[in-house]
């Protein structure tokens, strides 16, 4: 009861301060996170101190929108990360698995953010390229990194990434690899090349992703183009190759995350797929395999960002700090099977009492070796105009 009342008062004060500042200085609101972040760097050694959180928007609750099946749930008597975080922090978290597709989610939030209104979630997890777009549109708040000491655990390869060159707007949630998943019972042979997806033997049994950067990325690699430096003109071959495969009936369907159903049902012999999914699915369907093809694979990250105007900054920071603790990160990684961006996860897993969990420390899917990592490409950060061209061409193939 008491806590509830205090929280309400606190909330009211913050609102007033927020509105007051906005009214007096106009653009200052947009600048303030940057200023605060700058200040925060001085306070790195005093994590979570109340003085640094003062002046930041806080409501006591938190709304997170993330992709489905992207965190360990509370089930079978095991408490999941969200409930553990609730216990540890006292923050009332609402965790929605309503992020299904980057473009669709963008279409959903675009009207509000374009009009300068806040959207409901305090944390969302767009894929890296969308993070870049959101940053360039000015639709994100900078992260209060001073309140997230564990951000220091971010693996070095993902610090100041291409999509967020200053590293101030995003923290990767999970990274993953895009390769080829196949059902050996259906293919009858091991696959190792992107061109296996274009093998007429699998006509009508091939799935591709509606995520352009994954599907086009692999196709570019198969025609010897580097997705990291591609131009629209250079991509013509790859687009043509995709279009021909589509017209020939080689490609059965372009899907989102639901490619899993078709893979299990045997409708797909092989498909463009994400590493972590296959790791999970293979537990129940041992005939499923995942391979980074010889031509190379794609690498990507889904990143936690704070949409502009979110009012639970302090709580968002606490959540990010929590999941960047290697212990917690290891628990999540063990469930989702992707590549954790948090250093120390591998050691945590190896130290587990549960041999099955400990074995994950040696999983090539979760901890790819340097040779594999060397074959992975990150899709180029496209300019608005380029992206429009790519998107239009790609969608003319998927909705032919």
């Amino acid at each position: 009861m008491n806590r509830q009342r205090v929280r309400t008062v606190q909330q009211a004060i913050n609102r007033r301060q927020f509105l007051g500042r906005g009214a007096m200085f106009g653009g200052a609101v947009m600048l303030s996170p940057a200023l605060l972040a700058a200040c925060g760097s001085d306070d790195d050694d005093k994590p979570g101190s109340s003085s640094t959180s003062a002046g930041r928007s806080s409501t006591g609750d938190l709304l997170v929108s993330n992709w489905p099946l992207y965190i360990d749930p509370t089930e079978d008597g095991v408490t999941g990360s969200i409930d553990l975080f609730k216990e540890a922090s006292g923050i009332d978290v609402t965790y929605n698995e309503d992020y299904n597709d980057n473009n669709e989610f963008f279409a959903k939030i675009q009207p509000d953010l374009a009009a300068g209104n806040a959207i409901e979630p305090d944390i969302i997890a767009p894929t890296f390229w969308l993070v870049a777009r959101l940053i360039s549109l000015g639709w994100l708040d900078k992260l209060p990194l001073d309140l997230i000491p564990n951000a220091a655990n971010l693996v070095s390869s993902l610090q100041k990434p291409s999509w967020d060159p200053t590293g101030e707007y995003s923290l990767p949630w999970q990274s993953g690899m895009t390769g080829i998943a196949y059902n050996i019972d259906v293919t009858g042979r091991e696959l190792d090349s992107v061109d296996d997806l274009f093998d007429p033997a699998f006509k009508g049994k091939i799935g591709m992703l509606t995520e352009m950067r994954d599907t086009l990325g692999l196709t570019l690699l198969s025609v010897g183009k580097d997705p990291n430096t591609i131009t629209f003109d250079d991509a013509a071959d790859a687009f043509d190759k995709l279009e021909k495969a589509k017209n020939d009936g080689q490609i059965r369907q372009f899907t989102g995350n639901d490619y899993q159903d078709d893979l299990i049902a045997g409708n797909f012999a092989a498909c463009v797929a994400w590493s972590g999914d296959v790791a999970q699915l293979a537990l129940d369907t041992p005939s499923l395999r995942f391979v980074i093809p010889d031509e190379g694979g794609m690498q990507w990250s889904d990143c936690m960002v704070i949409p502009k105007g979110a009012d639970s900054i302090v709580e968002a920071a606490k959540f990010m700090d929590y999941v960047y603790d290697p212990v917690n990160a290891a628990r999540i990684a063990a469930y989702v099977g992707y590549n954790s961006p948090v250093a120390g996860v591998q050691d945590e897993l190896r130290a587990s009492d549960d041999p099955a969990v400990a074995a994950l420390a040696d999983s090539a899917l979760m901890f790819p070796d340097d040779a594999t990592l060397g074959r992975l490409k990150v899709f180029k950060s496209l300019s608005d105009d380029e992206e429009a061209q790519f998107d239009e061409r790609f969608s003319s193939i998927t909705t032919g």
């Binding site: 006509k203 049902a265 969608s395 998927t398 909705t399």
Partner: protein
């Protein structure tokens, strides 16, 4: 007295019908006309930049011609699929409605209920259920394989490479399945209204049961077929759910394109123009259809 009553009726007549119309008109104004105008405005606009969501009204009529030029094949495909599905709905639905109306007896309501029962489930769920049924390892193919029919079905282009899901068969089949009740119910209603003594009359006048049906019952049930056709063809040509789940990239319909333009490419101008072209074509088609087969004289 009589005079006064007449006057009062006349006075009432001046405003009462309009008062009763008002809620409906207001509804249409707010939720049909206004959105239509907004959509029209988008259709004639150009985006100021790609993601701002701001569109400038430039009366760019090229949006319409572009829409037709770029997506003509999807338009044609949509109308072809919807047309075939509508014909299939008539072929399947008419005998069903006829049976229920003439032979249903005391089971009429039960049978009609069974026709409507699928509606108790979500449209999406019903459609997705077919992915299981028509899947490569699903029961439908298992049966046709078991009967060694798949080769024949392939030759008839009902299956493609021994598969059914993600073919036009699947999309048209899904449309037919989902819209069948919209065909059965109006046909049933129009058959129900027919005086069955007309059938006696036709037989009395030397018509075999077959001729009696085609010369009397069928023409008289045309208003139902007409209504059912509209209720089936119009939503089917704008449908995107069946193509999305049951079709592949070569079976995408105009609804998928519009959805894609709105929600993937954020191109509201093209999407709005496409929507208008679709509406326009359907309206023209319906008018032509009504002119050719209109049976309003019969709706006595």
């Amino acid at each position: 007295m009589a005079r006064g009553g007449e006057d009062r009726n006349q006075r009432k007549g001046t405003w009462q019908p309009y008062a009763m119309l008002a809620p409906g008109m207001l509804w249409l104004l707010l939720f049909f006309l206004v959105p239509m105008l907004i959509l029209l405005r988008y259709a004639l606009s150009e985006p100021t930049d790609r993601f701002s969501g701001k569109y400038e009204l430039t009366f760019r009529f090229a949006n319409f011609t572009d829409a037709i030029g770029d997506f003509g094949s999807q338009f044609l495909r949509s109308f072809a699929y919807a047309g075939i599905a509508t014909v299939l709905c008539i072929v399947l639905g008419y005998p069903l409605a006829y049976f229920i109306a003439t032979k249903g007896g005391r089971y009429k309501n039960l049978l009609l209920g069974l026709v409507v029962v699928p509606f108790f489930t979500s449209y999406l769920v019903r459609t997705i259920a077919w992915t299981t049924i028509m899947g490569d390892n699903g029961p439908l193919l298992a049966i046709s394989d078991g009967l060694s029919l798949t080769g024949l079905l392939d030759a008839l282009k009902i299956t493609t490479n021994g598969g059914m899901l993600q073919t036009q068969t699947a999309v048209i089949g899904g449309l037919t399945y989902n819209f069948l009740p919209f065909m059965v119910l109006p046909i049933y209603v129009s058959l129900e209204k027919i005086d069955l003594r007309l059938l006696d009359a036709a037989k009395d006048l030397y018509s075999t049961p077959r001729r009696a049906f085609w010369k009397v019952i069928f023409p008289l049930s045309l208003p139902g077929v007409f209504a059912g056709t509209l209720l089936t063809f119009i939503p089917a040509s704008g449908d995107f759910v069946n193509a999305q789940f049951l079709g592949g990239p070569n079976q995408q319909m105009i609804g998928n394109v519009i959805q894609n333009q709105f929600f993937k490419l954020n191109d509201f101008a093209t999407a709005a123009a496409l929507s208008f072209v679709l509406m326009f074509i359907i309206t023209v088609a319906v008018l032509v259809y009504a002119r050719l087969f209109g049976t309003d004289e019969l709706s006595v």
